[in-house]
Symmetry: D2
Subunit: 140 residues, 4 copies
């Protein structure tokens, strides 16, 4: 299950060196993750409103291969690469004109914000949509 999220570099994303200010890559990874959940039928706005579920971060990383410029058109390709009981890793690849310009991941915890934030098992019906090809190997 690969979900593609297209975006365009905006004027406000650039910095005085004329390239994208790097924290925006993480902003886009976050957007891509939300698009991923919308795409598999679990929009995170609904998850949060109805179940107070959000997926805060444990760890994120990004490698930058090539700078992005104003009005560049980019596709973020997102795929769940690890699916644990309460935690998952979603990997993101940034592609401009068929060339990979950056690659990163987010390690997120399925978390209830009902009271004090608390990691919670990812429901099976969601798991099956996140990683249909899941071979259970990560199901610790």
């Amino acid at each position: 299950m690969v979900v593609e999220y297209p975006l365009k570099v905006r004027w406000g994303d650039t910095d005085a060196a004329g390239i994208v200010f790097y924290p925006n890559f993480y902003k886009w990874m976050d957007e891509a993750t939300h698009e991923f959940f919308s795409h598999i039928g679990y929009p995170t706005s609904t998850l949060y409103k109805e179940q107070q579920i959000a997926t805060p971060l444990l760890e994120t990383k990004c490698e930058f291969k090539s700078p992005l410029f104003f009005e560049d058109e980019v596709i973020v390709r997102s795929i769940v690469t690890e699916l644990h009981r309460k935690v998952f890793k979603i990997s993101h690849t940034f592609i401009r004109k068929d060339v990979m310009v950056a690659t990163g991941y987010e390690l997120r915890a399925w978390t209830s914000f009902n009271a004090k934030p608390k990691a919670t098992p990812i429901p099976d019906e969601v798991r099956n949509k996140m990683m249909p090809e899941n071979t259970e190997e990560f199901n610790d």
Copy 2:
């Protein structure tokens, strides 16, 4: 009651033309308003945590006289210029090296987010701190 909030232009605040991306002036006005409330003894973090009070915007405006550059040091001077029953206007002046570079205001409503957001009278003890020189003329 004038409160001064000092800030420094950060790399990420600039754009490809080498000047500050203008929505950041509003980000700084917002920060200055929060600093204002901390300064008069009502930190907005406490207001929100203990009373679910926030002050969303009805209207904001800014005039830009001169661009700001990376690592410019700026002072925002904030003063409440209108104080109505549930609504107030806070005016902000941006000063770099004694020269005014921008000026704007925020019109905000004292709002309870307890249930559905609802404008609420500003308590008298807060009003007195917001505008001690208040001549009641705006107290419609």
Copy 3:
């Protein structure tokens, strides 16, 4: 000439009160202005790269009628409402499900960043595209 720019409220656009942090409305106005120029055949990335032309702000304002929430889908309708020799006003209306949620404008100067930034006359061929219905009344 009305140009529509569709957008979706992202998780990072919200604040702890669960609504959009207001400077994002200005970020979106800025994006809508750039979309406007792309739409009329003058992408601002090209204007800046080839002619060092950008359009910094003299003044901006926004009135907020109704808060926006995470994953709200919004259309920004942009139209040039004043067209002076070097300066123009572009007005933006934010619409969610056929209801206006905010309205604002940006007053911008056509500016050469070749050397020291300097306001410059807007070329006629661009003017004609910006406001084809222009009755010359603002051509001071």
Copy 4:
């Protein structure tokens, strides 16, 4: 050489779950790096203006131990942990009330933006300030 950069979580840094939107940790790492260079006598605004030197990113990572909340006061402790000929790693630790809440790093290339961006050797006088305790072991 450890440089400390104090910051306060702003309203606009939070998200609808009431915690800091994670890309802001990277924004703060970036700010901390610029503060680091100011501290050792090489403000990046001067480096960029006088020599067109900036330090774009090759790789960044952050581990999040504990969420940050509105108006939390945080110190970022920054130290250069690798110093290669053209590339360096700067590590950042986020501390709130003596407890580490996040830790990350940035791998950056000393780059001339004179013409096409090009990695360039870090001058010796800067190197000596960046990592006075440098044992040359990373000087590949």
